[in-house]
């Protein structure tokens, strides 16, 4: 063994472990309180409401969810989330590399164009899409003026419009976590791979992808969670024709006065989101050593 393998006594005197633990607890307390009062308690109430029947505990509200109609609703939510997440990834992954490679003014402009839309309400953005896409909207007006089509194409209230709008609105949540990882990527690793015989494509698959996996997983999880539970986007861009879990929950609580069913659908949505997050946490870990 060499000298560098010998244990080196730590020169830093650390504070007493007890004191450090109490400090940590102290720092975490406000956030923990907020989470318990504003998040855990309401969730517990929601869950209680979903299983509370007239005569004690019941799963009847969940049984309603298992009918073909509502399974279709669940599928609608999943389909919207999967399409949105997939397309956002295909656009966002390369964009993250462009962003990481850009320098100076170009980079500032690109970052601003990512952040600024986040400052606008999702309602404003969804309405903007309806203005663009409706029959007398900008897109159709231009198409007809150019003589490309004779009559307006139906775009608003289609699934395409829904997914286009959702991708547009949620794209920053894909790009930012991936960009954060890509910007940290050590280019020398790619050079090392090249000198070891890896073509650019192989180096990408064997080095760049695994090392950016944590960002990819974070981006996928974020966009999936946001789009599976999106409410404003499907309400404004497609409406009744494409019921999702979110719109169904809102309807159950606000219109149909079925709080038990709404609560059950809410719990189901939460379960889907949690499953996605758990799966991504697992994927992120398995991206380590092999």
């Amino acid at each position: 063994m060499t000298a560098a393998d010998l244990p080196v006594p730590s020169p830093v005197v650390s504070p007493a472990p007890d004191r450090e633990r109490w400090l940590a607890i102290g720092f975490a307390t406000p956030a923990a309180l907020v989470l318990v009062v504003l998040f855990a308690l309401p969730l517990a109430l929601l869950f209680t409401a979903s299983v509370a029947g007239p005569a004690g505990l019941t799963l009847s509200e969940y049984a309603k969810l298992a009918t073909p109609h509502y399974l279709g609703v669940v599928w609608n939510s999943l389909r919207l989330a999967l399409l949105t997440t997939g397309i956002a990834f295909l656009i966002g992954y390369p964009a993250s590399f462009a962003l990481a490679r850009a320098r100076g003014v170009l980079r500032s402009v690109m970052l601003a164009s990512l952040f600024l839309p986040l400052a606008a309400s999702v309602i404003v953005k969804a309405f903007a899409w309806t203005i663009l896409l409706r029959s007398d909207g900008l897109v159709n007006t231009v198409l007809m003026a150019l003589g490309l089509v004779d009559e307006p194409i139906r775009m608003i209230f289609t699934e395409t419009a829904l997914v286009v709008g959702a991708v547009n609105i949620f794209l920053p949540f894909m790009i930012l976590p991936i960009y954060a990882v890509v910007a940290q990527l050590d280019h020398r690793l790619v050079e090392a791979a090249a000198t070891l015989g890896a073509s650019p494509a192989v180096a990408f698959v064997r080095v760049v992808m695994p090392l950016t996996l944590p960002g990819i997983v974070a981006g996928l999880a974020l966009v999936f969670s946001l789009s599976v539970s999106a409410y404003v986007v499907p309400t404004l861009l497609i409406g009744e024709r494409y019921p999702t879990l979110s719109t169904t929950i809102a309807k159950a609580f606000l219109l149909a006065r079925q709080p038990g069913f709404g609560a059950a659908a809410g719990v189901a949505l939460l379960a889907i989101t949690l499953a996605a997050v758990a799966l991504s946490a697992r994927l992120g870990r398995s991206g380590g050593a092999r």
């Binding site: 060499t2 000298a3 050079e191 090249a194 000198t195 070891l196 015989g197 890896a198 080095v207």
Partner: protein, 330 residues
């Protein structure tokens, strides 16, 4: 390749590896022109200054990478990984994550990874400079043993003259993007071709002067400390710098025994300014006029010398060299 930072030695290494492309000229490895060959088809092994180990792979995964991307069968890769890891004496750490290794171990993983593919040329970019002194010297010895064993050509880039002198068969001293001298370490040290090489490798005393007499490949130069004879061919009147290494300068107490005018020696009278203890030898600074001359003496002799003493320095003419003065007006 030895030179100060910014002299172009790393750029030259990157050109050989294919990580940078030359605007003109050609690069050939074992006679094959590889100027337009991308790095992944050059079959070179590079040990980077920062090691550039893949953090998502284990030690064995890093070493296997080159063979794995070449699509070699599993058993062959496993055998090669085992053999290479035992070559660098890390066979017991194959399953470790690279982040769990010490600097010296990481260095050896980087070496094993480069060796595993059986490269035609091994390139080391300041590969030892991140290690502390003891470990570096240990790695130098170990590397020499390894390179002899596998018989590969290796190119080292370093700014450390000791490392270059220890490790190399031939050294290219670089300065400002040019090779000043390409020679074996002994020649480089004992017969430096340029003033830059002289100054960059080893210590020296340099005296500026004007050639007074010339002939037979020798010159007599008038300097601030008197006339000094040196090896070199310059016309009388040229501005030159004469130089010699400290180990050739012998200190003789000025009053103890005049040796007379021995014409094969140079001699300068001065006063001892400092005696610097350096272990087995001591460095002695002698002031003559406004010049400082560097001499060296074994500790036993040096211990009898004291700052302020008058001293005479003598050294052989054959170890005195003359270079054109770079600051002289053309």
């Amino acid at each position: 390749m030895l030179g100060p930072s910014g002299c172009g030695k790393t750029t030259l290494l990157r050109l050989v590896a294919g990580l940078a492309a030359p605007e003109e000229g050609t690069i050939a490895i074992a006679g094959r022109d590889v100027t337009r060959v991308p790095p992944h088809r050059r079959n070179v092994g590079v040990v980077f200054q920062s090691y550039a180990l893949f953090p998502h792979l284990t030690v064995a995964g890093n070493v296997a990478f080159g063979l794995s991307v070449r699509g070699r069968p599993r058993e062959e890769i496993d055998r090669a990984v085992k053999r290479t890891l035992s070559l660098v004496r890390l066979e017991h750490l194959g399953a470790r994550r690279v982040s769990a290794l010490s600097g010296g171990q990481q260095q050896r993983v980087a070496l094993a990874r480069a060796l595993a593919v059986g490269p035609e040329v091994l390139l080391f970019d300041e590969a030892l400079s991140a290690l502390d002194r003891n470990l570096r010297e240990e790695m130098q010895v170990e590397l020499q043993r390894l390179l002899r064993e596998i018989g590969a050509t290796a190119i080292f880039v370093t700014h450390d003259q000791d490392e270059a002198l220890t490790m190399s068969d031939r050294i290219a001293v670089m300065n400002g993007g040019r090779i000043e001298q390409l020679a074996d370490p002994k020649t480089l040290y004992e017969r430096p071709a340029t003033l830059f090489t002289l100054g960059f490798v080893g210590q020296s005393t340099r005296l500026r002067g004007t050639v007074a007499e010339a002939g037979d490949g020798m010159v007599a130069v008038d300097t601030a400390v008197g006339r000094v004879a040196a090896v070199g061919s310059y016309r009388a009147g040229s501005s030159v710098v004469v130089a010699t290494r400290p180990e050739h300068l012998r200190v003789v107490a000025e009053l103890a025994g005049h040796e007379g005018a021995e014409h094969a020696r140079n001699s300068v009278d001065g006063r001892i300014r400092a005696v610097i203890f350096q272990g087995s030898r001591s460095r002695i600074e002698v002031a003559a006029g406004d010049q400082i001359l560097l001499a060296e003496a074994p500790g036993r002799i040096a211990s009898e010398l004291n700052p302020g003493d008058a001293a005479r320095l003598v050294w052989p003419v054959t170890e005195t060299f003359a270079y054109p003065d770079p600051e002289a007006r053309a």
